[in-house]
Symmetry: C2
Subunit: 577 residues, 2 copies
């Protein structure tokens, strides 16, 4: 394609509304433009990348035996009422009425529509298993749409739904999708990890999230350094001793109160007492469904409120304000501790249970206790896994230490079981002629979100660095002096040869200063740049720049075309000699 014939409105400056790198770079590279909050136009370069992602997803879904269909965005309320989600879904579901005042929604997902289709068209176990997918526009009225394509209100998803005669079959389909997702994200050229998203109501792991690894990711991922275990830090199950016993051992002295004037945070207290955070125990006070609750975690750990809620079966868990802390402990906040607490349920993380001794707040201003020992100096009603995983925790599967990465969720495979088929009375006849509910799975990929995630993972201060499989073009030809006949003829020659070889190539044919051309090229992030300048050409060379490594290489003009083709398509088969 010719640069001048494409709408690529690059921006010099970061747009003020863009908070994250991928959003900034997609705006700056002229890939997308906002229509309304969370709603975007894909411009030509953005759509090229979207199409490439969709193509790879489609190929691997077909390869895994899924059949492509296309369901509508408009969904009648009746179907959602059957599963109860019309009421449950809340404001994220965009609703509207048609001219006859009938209720519809814009699908954020298609479990109801697909289950309705399958219950009408699939009658016998002989027609099973079946896996139907689509690549389609979805709608979700996010309360705070942001980060460009990362969290939009209208976005492109691949969603697949499998239907099986029994759980065993459903697990096979799940495994197929799990494997297909590995192939998809590998082929997209992304570093990613599949993490356990939830563990087994049905037995075994019934849900995995696929995360693209990026420093800027919203999610923390704990991955075993030895086995293939990986989980969201908030969901990783931690066993007793996972975080080690902490420092200190041998003979434990008696409880000792020390002054810690104005030292409130873990860092301040441990520095002041010449200790380390893992020697402290933090005491956090919550109102749990209205009742006072103290949660103890090691100084270097973070309380995981989801785990606390699940343990106690409470729905409202609110951190206590200063007034409540004072009323419940008798001391100001910042100095809370478990010693002497009364009429408060105290729960502790497993890592606290194994600490020989610890430093804790004394429930009075400017005071802490040293050598506090659970059981001896304070009681704990229950010990349980109550915290997020951190680097070095023991893998719950093999015991090796885990490392922590950050990631962006781009895919999710989920075992639905019979949740939807029971709600919608979707049955088939088994081999004995008896009615059975379909056992279902659902499998999503955020097709448009992948673009943002890919950029979060692949960029530098100059712009995007596309992985080849999803790059809008493979080669960017940049004639520096566009007034020079020699430069332009050579550029066009190379361009023509690339097009004939089927290599997606963009040629910079604008009359712009060299600096503008180079900046836009780095911003666009095409993997290889071919720079043609008078001087180099005079010496018989073109310059080949690898956008990722920044490496520049002089290639003889007459060898340039073969070299580029080999670079993109791999070595040509040699004729038999």
């Amino acid at each position: 394609m010719r640069y001048s014939k494409l709408l690529i409105p690059t921006l010099r400056e970061d747009p003020t509304e863009a908070e994250v790198i991928s959003h900034r770079l997609m705006m700056r590279a002229g890939m997308i433009r906002k229509v309304s909050a969370g709603i975007y136009n894909f411009l030509p370069v953005g759509l090229r990348v979207l199409s490439k992602v969709a193509k790879i997803v489609r190929e691997e879904m077909e390869h895994a035996g899924a059949q492509e269909i296309l369901m509508p965005a408009l969904q009648p309320a009746e179907l959602w009422q059957e599963t109860g989600r019309w009421q449950q879904y809340g404001k994220e579901l965009m609703r509207l009425k048609d001219r006859h005042d009938r209720d519809f929604c814009l699908g954020p997902t298609h479990e109801e529509v697909i289950t309705d289709l399958v219950r009408r068209e699939v009658k016998s176990y002989r027609q099973l298993p079946i896996n139907l997918y689509q690549i389609q526009t979805k709608f979700r009225d996010e309360i705070r749409p942001r980060f460009g394509l990362m969290r939009g209100r209208e976005f492109v998803m691949k969603d697949a739904y499998s239907f099986d005669a029994d759980l065993e079959g459903a697990k096979e389909n799940y495994k197929k999708m799990y494997d297909a997702y590995h192939k998809i994200f590998s082929r997209l050229g992304l570093r990613f990890r599949a993490v356990e998203a939830d563990t087994g109501l049905i037995g075994g792991s019934s849900s995995h999230e696929f995360m693209v690894l990026a420093q800027t990711g919203e999610e923390g991922i704990a991955s075993c350094t030895k086995c293939d275990y990986a989980a969201n830090v908030e969901r990783a199950e931690l066993k007793k001793g996972a975080g080690g016993r902490g420092p200190g051992a041998g003979e434990v002295k008696g409880l000792e109160k020390v002054q810690t004037p104005d030292k409130k945070t873990v860092e301040e207290v441990s520095a002041f007492l010449k200790a380390t955070p893992p020697q402290l125990v933090k005491t956090l006070l919550f109102s749990a469904d209205g009742r006072p609750l103290a949660v103890l975690v090691r100084g270097d750990h973070q309380v995981n409120e989801i785990k606390v809620r699940r343990l106690l079966g409470v729905s409202d868990l609110i951190l206590a304000d200063a007034g409540k802390v004072e009323a419940w402990t008798g001391g100001p906040s910042g100095f809370s501790g478990p010693v002497g607490l009364k009429n408060i349920e105290i729960i502790g993380d497993l890592s606290v249970e194994v600490m020989p001794e610890s430093i804790v707040g004394a429930n009075e201003k400017d005071a802490h206790y040293l050598h506090a020992v659970p059981g001896r100096d304070f009681k704990v009603d229950r010990f349980a896994d109550l915290r997020n995983a951190v680097a070095g925790d023991a893998c719950p599967r093999c015991g090796a230490p885990v490392s922590i990465d950050r990631g962006i969720e781009v895919g999710h495979v989920f075992m639905l079981g019979t949740k939807y088929s029971e709600a919608m009375k979707a049955t088939f006849l088994d081999s004995k002629g008896e009615e059975q509910f379909f056992v279902m799975g659902c499998y999503g990929i955020g097709v448009s979100r992948i673009i943002a995630a890919a950029i979060e993972q692949n960029h530098d201060e100059k712009g995007i660095i596309w992985p080849m499989p999803i790059a809008p073009f493979a080669i960017h030809i940049i004639p520096v002096q566009d007034q020079s006949e020699r430069v332009m003829i050579t550029a066009e020659l190379i361009y023509g040869s690339m097009i004939r070889a089927g290599i997606e190539t963009i040629i910079e044919d604008r009359s712009e200063r060299a600096g503008v051309k180079f900046n836009d090229a780095d911003l666009l992030g095409v993997p290889y740049q071919v720079v043609l300048g008078e001087k180099n050409l005079h010496e018989g060379f073109v310059e080949l720049k690898n956008r990722r490594t920044g490496e520049k290489q002089k290639v003889e003009v007459e060898k340039a075309i073969d070299h580029l083709i080999e670079l993109v398509q791999g070595p040509r088969p040699q004729p038999a000699s």
Copy 2:
């Protein structure tokens, strides 16, 4: 693909809700299923055809220099308020509110969004011309959605929008699109005609509709049998004498009243008087913005109310009821005529003007006049083109007779001028640095509707007959005795070879009776069926059936593969000898 692995829920019976052939056949062939009125699931076979249509459209748009983008379905009300269409569009526009109570609509078209994009991103004449298109889901809340994909509420369109610096450029873009549409519909394998949809506010023809020809089409099309003129019968311009002078000439006798007891219709009167309909003049009485109006057309012609309205500049044109006819003419309806009419404006079609004499109603029960002559026996205030074209009318361009076809509108090219750019203040700077409004064109293709139109044009009593370019598969392999090892091995051999040759092939691998297999194959309409039966194989043959012609041919087994490849892909290039 294997038949057993695809969801193709064929139906033996016509579904009761389907009124037209294409809807019936798409339901019966398991291509689509209804979700709600005018809203459908595309099942695997339906989606395959949709994708093929979209691919051809996309290739020709790219070839014509248009750039693909993707705009959102959700559009903010503010943009539609700028053009006034938020108010004008009425109930066909599906509207909704987001969680913050802001108004949105689901786009039935994208003039507002694209004009907003271009006014923000295109600043200079140097960036022009530009043509942006998308293939995307559209929404229109039809009052009576029907005919399956023909008139749905959610459907797939290709819409393109061109922006030019001046009218001359806009005309060039229009011409490019007009030519591209010819290529698209030719490549789709459809018989079609481009018809003038409206004539020149801007000069020249500024709108063309592309019609797929089919007996069942809703629109009538008049096409010249000599030149390339074609127009909707309602819009075709007819010149004086276009319909000939009608029979009768020489000396004209004086007005003569005759009895025509109970003969009211043209057919009844002409049969009774041993005349032909072209010898009669029909007198139709209307209330035109409340005032009485008589319109005269030849007995074999139909009044075109659009032309009448346009001539008189009236908005309300209502056929008079029996009471009004009696009051205005003094006679019962069925016997109206122009002779003796008072206080009524009388207009006549051009073909009436050239009739030497005619038979007309006498404005009294059971009576007509013979030998009525305009001017002599009755007055006509104005003669003008007031009727639909019929077969044999003279082409307004070259004078040769026109023929009449029926068609289904599948594409529309339209010169918008500055309607939207003025309303939305969308300007660029011209070469003199002055602000100018963009001159726009818009170009639509009903991608999903094309499928229905293709079926209306290509079917027989057994099912669909796909044109090869949009067929879901090129070849349908049907092993008759699926218990026979010889039959199945040969079928699989041919299937494997087709797949390796890149030919889209479906193999019938279900355990069904031969009759079921043959019926489903004819219903699905794949262009070539390869039938493998024990008897033929024993004799060394397979049977090749052409779905369109029904022709069956015996092909030697060992030549079958080469023959099929050549049939689909054309002859192989011969190696140089």
